[in-house]
């Protein structure tokens, strides 16, 4: 009895995997489907400022949301936002719950095996942040300053390599204590990811922190189901146009406090 149930389950599971595999390599019809029903499902983060987050008016906002809205507008369809999380966004795309992932998605070889990527639309970066009153133009200007960083992160490694020896690197155990040290002005500077810094500044406007120096760049791409070439081409067209007319630059300045820089095409 038990074995029967098990084999039934296995059969069901295999079936499910096969269906998944077949949808993953679906016919190239998403663009037509989107245009036909006049709406596009966009997977965005709802808790990742400044990329995708709830604004004070309980509406989704951020670089990702603005970019996603732009794509829907250019396609002439309604934007339907679907909140996604980091672990579930790719499965959502593969199972057609969403048509595009627009949630601070970075490109890596593992992901390239299962989904396609458009051109980059926004920067994502690790950087040094500090108060407006502090003049920091290069790594040499960090001499004699103090900086909070989370131990063992990319930021920690990069700082270790590029900073002058007189920079006092104060290491904390997690992002929240690192940010707390900076907010309570126990350190003059903060080295962290753009999203963490933006959230910290948003909640503590009194610190007047701004972007100072770049530590590491890893831009965001929009994820498209494998094989949806028509949709991919169309979105790339829209993004390239938005890059050319300065729209993406404007979004980046507005939410990240820094230009897009050179985005990989």
């Amino acid at each position: 009895m038990k074995f029967k149930a098990l084999s039934l389950l296995t059969a069901l599971f295999t079936g499910a995997v096969l269906t998944l595999a077949s949808t993953a390599h679906a016919a190239d019809d998403s663009l037509n489907a989107v245009l036909a029903k006049k709406s596009i499902a966009l997977g965005v983060a709802s808790d990742f400022p400044p990329y995708g987050f709830m604004g004070p008016d309980f509406k989704l906002t951020g670089v990702d949301v603005a970019t996603a809205q732009l794509i829907a507008d250019k396609l002439g369809v309604k934007a339907e936002f679907v909140p996604v999380s980091t672990p579930n966004r790719i499965p959502y795309l593969q199972t057609k719950k969403i048509d595009l992932i627009v949630s601070a998605l970075g490109k890596n070889p593992e992901r390239e095996k299962v989904i396609d990527f458009t051109v980059a639309y926004a920067p994502f970066f690790q950087a040094v942040f500090g108060p407006k009153s502090l003049n920091i133009k290069s790594f040499d200007d960090l001499a004699g300053k103090s900086i909070a960083v989370t131990r063992g992160t990319i930021q920690d490694d990069v700082l270790q390599k590029v900073a002058p020896p007189t920079l006092k690197i104060q290491r904390f155990e997690d992002d929240s204590t690192t940010v707390a040290a900076f907010i309570s002005q126990q350190t003059q500077l903060l080295a962290t990811g753009a999203a963490v810094a933006a959230a910290a500044v948003q909640k503590n406007p009194q610190v007047q922190a701004e972007y100072k120096l770049l530590l590491k760049d890893s831009p965001n791409f929009i994820g498209v189901r494998k094989g949806e070439t028509a949709l991919l081409t169309k979105v790339n067209e829209i993004l390239r146009a938005a890059k050319a007319d300065g729209t993406l630059e404007k979004y980046s300045q507005k939410w990240l406090g820094r230009g897009t820089g050179v985005l990989p095409d």
Binding site: A148, R151, G152, D156, Q170, R171, F172, E173, T177, A180, A181, S184, Q185, Q186
Partner: protein, 220 residues
């Protein structure tokens, strides 16, 4: 089977040595100041005025009923919003002194309260001043009675200084954390540091048991 590689951890010995130095410094300063604070508070709880008694009592209860790490975070992250910004090392010492002070207060008070009545009466009949009675007659034997407990408490505070790494003090445990995140040899790092703490604690106990009877109170 895990393969140990202590060489990469021990290669970072300058960092371990610096960490050890800070841990010893933090402990030494806070042990002296904390014990003094504890003794003063014990006196205040027994002989102080009503207000003083209540103030010291509140301090002791707050410290003894909250976690050390929260006290440390309060001093380091909280006080700056009240306008008091302390360096990492000063914040650590302040937290450790306040912590030890509260526990030492209760330990010393226990010692003071077990002073035999006859001893007090003898001192009074010799027309000694209250300060002379406290410092010459009551305190030394009281400290001798509670010395083992006090030494244990100082060692607990020394071991507790391991959390100072959380506010970026580069003491021994922070050194271990850094070494483990650089070499990815966490097991080895923590074994090495645990051994250092063990030796430190045993050594400190020996030192204080030697030091106390000779310099703090003279047992005859």
């Amino acid at each position: 089977m895990i393969e140990f590689d202590f060489a990469v951890v021990l290669a970072e010995w300058p960092m371990l040595l610096r960490g050890l130095g800070l841990t010893v410094t933090l402990t030494a300063v806070s042990a002296v100041l904390g014990a003094l604070l504890g003794t003063a508070c014990a006196w205040a709880r027994l002989h102080g005025g009503k207000g003083l008694k209540r103030t010291v009592g509140t301090y002791v209860e707050i410290v003894r009923n909250t976690p050390f790490i929260i006290q440390l975070f309060f001093i380091f992250f909280g006080l700056p919003s009240l306008g008091l910004r302390l360096s990492v090392e000063v914040a650590c010492i302040l937290a450790m002194v306040l912590n030890l002070g509260a526990y030492a207060c209760e330990i010393v008070r226990a010692g003071l309260q077990t002073t035999p009545k006859g001893q007090l009466e003898a001192a009074l009949s010799l027309a000694l001043t209250p300060w002379q009675i406290f410092s010459r007659v009551v305190l030394p034997p009281a400290l001798a009675r509670v010395w083992p407990a006090l030494v244990s408490q100082i060692i607990i505070v020394m071991l507790g200084s391991a959390v100072c790494g959380q506010i970026s003090a580069e003491e021994l445990s922070q050194a271990a954390n850094l070494i483990s995140s650089r070499t990815f040899r966490s097991f080895e790092s923590y074994i090495v540091v645990a051994l250092i703490y063990l030796l430190l604690a045993v050594g400190l106990r020996q030192l204080l048991f030697w030091f106390g009877p000779r310099f703090i109170f003279t047992s005859r």
